[in-house]
Subunit: 326 residues, 2 copies
């Protein structure tokens, strides 16, 4: 049982967002040593991109509360990656409504960053398009990441995709922020995005969350239907239920000689056994419940954050069901 | 994003194998209280079948080492479920080569059991067919569960399926013992099994393992392609990486009014938080590695069983890669 499934998918590019999405678990307070370990792992594993954090503004977030990877100043980046003398491309995410992009994003020629991923909700489409244009003019590769797609109605989605497809972004990412999508829905959305993207020579990506233990499955499903940009994190580290685990994704892409799966297991052993004792993420029942009821994971994060409310699944189920629309 | 995915799948029947597959984690030493809690949950949740253990022989297994759910004597069963005055049907699994089926399986009219699931490897097909015939003649519904399907070559598989399709078994189950299958392979196998089964009015089932976090995804995929018998366990409890979690499966089947998802969360809260402190199961890296390399999980179970070898992923990766054929 090998031959028909064994294809190298040479067009697929893998983006590691361990530090960026993982930063949502610990307010972006990773040590330089840890970020460097993830960087070194990405280089060794042949991963194509590493998203090293957010390019958000300290007008919106406190420097006391948030670690450096919420802001990704050039000096913080270079302290860890130097001039990045590797093939690995570096990315940051900038949130519409939370970043001072005109000022904080410097020209690509002066930055160690290669790519800006613009994250936005549907109602922020106007600013997002300005941000995409700005980053593109500054010389970056740009990705458009419209979030929380599972609560956007079809007409709004189509209108947004039409505008994004006409923008300077070279990639449009299906972002399942709530971990709601099952594989059939992922197929439907990837095909829809492909339809908009392919007319303008853009690529389609997938960013999955693991609430229903479907992050890896939805990532595979996306590649089956044409997505060529796929997000993953080491050990699935990420907000709430976490993301598609890099160790599973690179195993799936085993026939592409550029990837080296063993490096990920080295990093899991050296860095993540300790991290698991300090931080919690993964498909715990509370996250399954918010995922299934198509809600933001914040209520689940809050419930798991207190010994008094953690693991009270029945009460939490009733609460989320009452808040939902099913 | 609801309408096209929202179907009740009235033909699907759910089998809970929490105690049976979970018994492989603790040598079948569940307390009566725990087994009763799972039974009560299955009844409350509207699950169709509960597999309560193995019908294996104490000629092959020690009664000192193994708990009662390895043997499922009638008196042990009735101590927990009484005469089973519910709609829930009860099943046991009998292994070819490990059970004294002629003697130990009593006529269905005298038993609280409704179904026998015959588990066998391809090379045990002759005995399996005898077991199927015997259980059918004794009045049971019978399922044919050929194990470790991912290491069986196509010609052998087809020959076995041809014979099973001509047998008295009313269900043939795709059993991914190693947790190797990705969704595309699951689709291929379900279609193959359906092809053999449908000619003889048999149903096809799926029993997935979660090594690559694909147990739920493969179960969904199976239903998309015609499987109507699906296995799951509460909290995914099962050998090694565990199985498809019942809490995810019943959420997926939300539009079928016979199922009650909330009962599963009650059981998770009341029984499984404690159990997690006593037993380990789930998609730990060692299980991902044996799954990916298409090997039995026994080496991973052994590695995780000792503090000296547990979590040494790189060494384990090298060991399994060397043992494998990739």
């Amino acid at each position: 049982m090998n031959a028909p499934w064994s294809i190298s998918r040479p067009n697929v590019k893998v983006l590691d967002c361990t530090i960026r999405d993982g930063g949502l678990v610990n307010n972006h307070r990773f040590s330089d040593k840890f970020v460097r370990a993830v960087y070194d792992t990405c280089v060794a594993a042949g991963v194509d991109y590493m998203e090293i954090g957010y390019k958000n503004s300290d007008k919106f977030f406190s420097r006391e509360e948030m670690g450096p990877w919420k802001f990704c100043n050039e000096e913080d980046l270079r302290r860890v990656v130097g001039d990045n003398p590797s093939k690995l491309k570096l990315a940051c995410m900038a949130d519409a409504g939370k970043s001072n992009w005109k000022h904080d994003i410097i020209p690509a020629s002066e930055s160690v960053l290669d790519m800006i991923r613009v994250a936005f909700y549907d109602y922020q489409i106007d600013e997002a398009l300005e941000m995409i244009q700005d980053a593109s003019e500054k010389g970056y590769e740009v990705s458009a990441n419209m979030m929380a797609i599972s609560v956007v109605d079809e007409i709004t989605l189509d209108k947004c995709l039409e505008r994004v497809a006409a923008s300077a972004a070279s990639t449009i990412v299906v972002v399942d922020s709530y971990g709601y999508l099952i594989t059939e829905q992922t197929e439907y959305l990837i095909k829809k995005y492909m339809n908009f993207a392919s007319k303008n020579n853009k690529e389609v990506g997938i960013h999955a969350h693991n609430n229903q233990q479907l992050a890896f499955a939805n990532t595979i499903e996306s590649m089956r239907h044409g997505a060529t940009r796929v997000d993953a994190t080491i050990s699935g580290l990420g907000r709430g239920a976490g993301n598609c685990p890099m160790e599973l994704l690179l195993a799936f892409l085993k026939d592409n000689p550029k990837y080296n799966l063993r490096s990920i297991y080295e990093c899991l052993e050296n860095e993540f056994i300790t991290l698991r004792k300090e931080l919690e993420w993964g498909p715990y029942p509370e996250y399954m419940i918010t995922g299934f009821f198509n809600q933001h994971p914040r209520s689940a994060i809050k419930a798991r954050d207190s010994q008094e409310t953690k693991d009270h699944y029945t009460q939490f189920f009733d609460q989320i069901k009452a808040a939902g629309n099913k």
